[in-house]
């Protein structure tokens, strides 16, 4: 057997495999749920109901999608230039860290000045954090997969140290948790009475800004050129290393903005469980979105929906919550396979 590229795939060719992949994901999840003792035919309904079935469910899904849009954009931007940033987790915490450092009373500024400053400093922190691997890569050829991945562990331990030490909330009854940010440093809710905060809107705006940069700006042109063919880009006079550094700064800044949004919009303080692996899940989001920034919004809502929905389903049907992780992994593998099948056909010899 071998793969043969398809020159001009038809619409059906592009849509059907993806639909089949999603269907197969649900079938596998249903099967596992029935092994765990639930009614397999109720699984899909319970997930949908848990993710989108009520105002509360939708709000929950949006809130879960917000950090995923940021980390998904971080991965999508970097991967487009073939800069493999696996460190969105650390960059997200960097943004959260600067937000609690500056937002817990150090600056007595009004909201309209304080929030932009906090966002800006967060972006700066995430960008600087990724600058180190970017420079190591462009100067010395150090593999950024290794450096960004290992930075995650170093940075999380650093946060842990701060939360046990200087940043520990004196009123926190001994928990490793920072003080809460002041009221001026909180992102308001978009609608009165709904728990959706402006972080979600910021995520949507970020996605559009990234999309505009990628399609309209010379920087976006350079990033795509470097990602597709470094040699040709260099021959054409594109400063490849400088483009990679700029890409890293943008990617790190986006992930850190997610950290700012989580603290200022949702949690109010920094703890070690601020992110249940948003940095890593962002990679899945970006891959599912085929690195398209607008697609990242859809993919983040899809992934958040699976998390929230599967969580609720597992409670309703009394099956383990691990089912959500399995579903996500299955969805990723099958969708990646399906994407390949939209572009290649299998030929039997």
């Amino acid at each position: 057997m071998r793969l043969e590229p398809i020159r001009n795939p038809s619409v059906a060719r592009r849509v059907v495999p993806i639909g089949l992949a999603l269907g197969a994901t649900i079938a596998i999840a249903s099967l596992l749920a029935s092994v765990a003792g639930a009614n397999p035919f109720s699984v899909l309904g319970l997930i949908l109901k848990g993710a989108f079935g009520s105002k509360f469910a939708i709000v929950e899904t949006f809130n879960r999608a917000t950090p995923l849009i940021f980390t998904g954009l971080a991965a999508a931007v970097a991967f487009r230039a073939k800069f493999w940033n696996i460190g969105a987790e650390a960059q997200l915490y960097a943004g959260a860290l600067t937000t609690v450092v500056l937002g817990t009373g150090l600056l007595a500024w009004p909201s309209f000045a304080l929030l932009p400053l906090l966002a800006f400093v967060a972006i700066l922190a995430g960008a600087l954090l990724l600058l180190v691997p970017a420079v190591l890569k462009t100067r010395f050829g150090v593999d950024e997969v290794v450096t960004t991945l290992l930075f995650n562990f170093i940075f999380l331990l650093f946060i842990s140290m701060l939360l046990e030490g200087p940043l520990k909330d004196p009123m926190g009854m001994g928990w490793p948790k920072s003080a809460r940010v002041v009221a001026e440093a909180r992102l308001p809710r978009i609608f009165e009475g709904l728990r959706v905060h402006w972080g979600f809107a910021l995520a949507l705006i970020s996605a559009f800004v990234v999309w505009i940069i990628q399609t309209r700006s010379t920087l976006g042109f350079e990033m795509r050129a470097v990602g597709l063919n470094k040699d040709a880009a260099a021959f054409a006079g594109i400063p490849v290393n400088r483009v990679l550094v700029k890409t890293a700064l943008l990617s790190g800044g986006l992930a850190a903005l997610g950290g700012f949004s989580e603290v200022a919009g949702l949690k109010g303080s920094l703890t070690l469980d601020l992110s249940p692996g948003y940095g890593y899940t962002g990679i899945i989001v970006a891959m599912l979105a085929l690195l398209n920034p607008i697609g990242v919004i859809v993919a983040a809502l899809f992934v958040a929906g699976i998390f929230v929905g599967a969580d609720s389903m597992s409670r309703a049907a009394d099956v383990p919550t691990y089912l959500a992780d399995i579903m996500l992994a299955t969805a990723l593998l099958l969708v990646v396979l399906a994407i390949m099948l939209t572009r290649f056909r299998v030929v039997r010899d």
Binding site: S217, T218, A225, L228, A234, G237
Partner: protein, 513 residues
């Protein structure tokens, strides 16, 4: 060949269509045992499609393939191999990090073979290489071999698998004249051993030298089949090209001022290829300077230097009368240097970019295609449309990904991209490699027109005929050293050959490096 020998291969009435294009139109020909048949045709004449059908990569719409009287099942890629047909591709399929013996036995022997088996395999390889005059050590790493030696390994690999019909796709494209002669003597040996050979080429004199018969393909049809004894190169060329495409008539250029001067320039080596060794070179306006030499003798280093990919490590480069300090590809473009790269797939274009994006690839940064970092896609698209129109790029439109274009059309886009900027200096590195004769003449015409408009052209080519036809002055490069300038018609090919082999350089100039 004597009459009555057995037929080794017969293709009957092969037709293959891709959409509206008929790649092979009722093609029939046969090869006898011990016979060399040349398959001659321009790029796009259908040679590759025919070979893909023979090897089962494509299923023909009609027609059959017979090997030694047995019809092969269509679309089965192992059938031809199992029947004893082997092919040496233009681009070798060898693993650089493995030895010659490992490469040859790869796929026919288990990876973890016993010492005894390895000794037997080695003995067989040595025997074969002696019998066919294919001198190459079984223990050498393929990565360290020259191109000619790698080709020998490919041929040995085929012989080791007991092929009885050997297909060689453009085998001399990458060889020096001496290596090509060695190849021919090997082939003669192979024929004497009963092997049949299909020799795919555009080079007429080689076809005349080695083949018994020539089958000429044009636009997918067999337009002629003649014995080499009954024809000559002119007749073959006429058959291959039809009536179209005359070689350009070339009047000598009028040299103007010096635009580029290199004084004692040295550059570091590039991998196995030498860098420049204290060379002096001047490019004049209105003149084509041809750089002749065997591939890998410093051409890449000179192209990188003039194209802005590399700065001089020693010596100075003077552009329009000013000594350069700091030099980059972007500066080269902005200083009016048009660069036609050697490898249009790898460095000249971005395969998954469309024509518009590839058209502005060198000049996206600034007017007229962008302002303050924002691209003007309307402008870019109009530029691409202009190139498509003016340079006759055959494509569905500017939003076509360039990967889908043929080599000739890709090259036309590159030509348009660089020539539309009214360059004063043109660096043309192997500008016609792999193009069909129509496209070759087109590219040459463009270079001559640019010259007549007053551009200085540096033409780097491994094809001596091309250089002798186009260049007003010729330099020979060998091992990073540059010969003095020779005027048009001053040297015979044989005399240039002496310089190309590295003789003719005084011992003194070598030590200057």
């Amino acid at each position: 060949m004597t009459q009555g020998t057995a037929e080794a291969l017969r293709l009957s009435n092969i037709t293959k269509r891709f959409g509206d294009l008929t790649a092979n139109d009722a093609v029939s020909f046969s090869v006898d045992e011990g016979e060399v048949v040349a398959l001659l045709g321009e790029n796009g004449a259908g040679k590759t499609t025919l070979m893909n059908i023979l090897f089962g990569q494509y299923t023909p719409d009609s027609g059959t393939v017979e090997v030694f009287g047995e019809t092969l099942p269509a679309g089965n890629s192992r059938a031809a191999l199992d029947a004893g047909v082997g092919m040496v591709h233009q681009h070798f399929t060898l693993a650089d990090n493995m030895t010659v013996q490992e490469n040859i036995t790869l796929g026919v022997r288990p990876l973890l073979s016993l010492g005894l088996e390895r000794a037997a395999a080695r003995k067989r390889i040595v025997e074969l290489s002696e019998r066919f005059h294919l001198a190459v050590s079984p223990d050498a790493r393929v990565g360290s071999l020259s191109v000619g030696e790698r080709q020998r390994v490919e041929i040995l690999k085929a012989l080791y698998r007991d092929v009885r019909i050997l297909i060689l796709d453009e085998p001399t494209a990458v060889l020096t004249p001496q290596e090509a002669d060695d190849l021919f003597s090997t082939l003669k040996q192979a024929i004497a051993n009963g092997l049949s050979v299909i020799f795919i080429s555009h080079k007429l004199h080689e076809v005349m030298a080695i083949a018994d018969r020539v089958v000429v393909l044009r636009h997918g049809k067999v337009v002629g089949g003649v014995r080499t004894a009954d024809t000559d190169t002119h007749a073959l060329a006429a058959m291959m090209m039809g009536s179209q495409a005359e070689p350009p008539e070339i009047a000598p250029g009028k040299a103007g001022e010096a635009l580029v001067e290199l004084r004692g320039v040295s550059t570091p080596d590039i991998g196995n290829a030498p860098g420049l060794k204290a060379i002096d070179l001047t490019l004049y306006a209105g003149q084509i300077c041809g750089l002749a030499g065997v591939s890998g003798n410093g051409q890449a280093a000179l192209a990188d230097l003039v194209g802005g990919m590399q700065s001089a490590a020693r010596g100075e480069m003077i552009l329009y009368g000013n000594v350069l300090h700091g030099w980059s590809a972007r500066q080269a473009v902005h200083n009016g240097i048009a660069r036609i790269p050697e490898d249009r797939h790898k460095t000249g274009t971005i395969a998954d970019f469309d024509l518009t994006e590839n058209a502005i690839l060198e000049r996206y940064n600034g007017a007229p295609f962008s302002r303050r970092g924002w691209l003007d896609w309307g402008r870019a698209r109009r530029f691409a449309e202009e190139i498509i129109e003016k340079f006759d790029v055959r494509c569905p439109g500017p939003e076509t990904r360039i990967r889908l274009l043929s080599g000739g059309n890709m090259q036309k886009l590159i030509l348009g991209r660089v020539l539309e900027a009214q360059p004063r200096i043109i660096l043309a590195n192997q500008p016609v490699r792999g193009l069909d004769i129509g496209a070759v003449n087109y590219v040459h015409r463009q270079l001559l027109d640019a010259r007549d408009r007053g551009a200085a052209v540096l033409l780097i080519s491994e094809d001596l005929d091309e250089i002798m036809a186009l260049a007003d002055v010729i330099h020979v490069i060998a091992d990073g050293r540059l010969s003095p300038a020779f005027g048009r018609g001053e040297m015979t090919p044989a005399e240039l050959g002496i310089w190309m082999s590295g003789q003719g350089f005084g011992a003194g100039s070598y030590h200057a490096a």
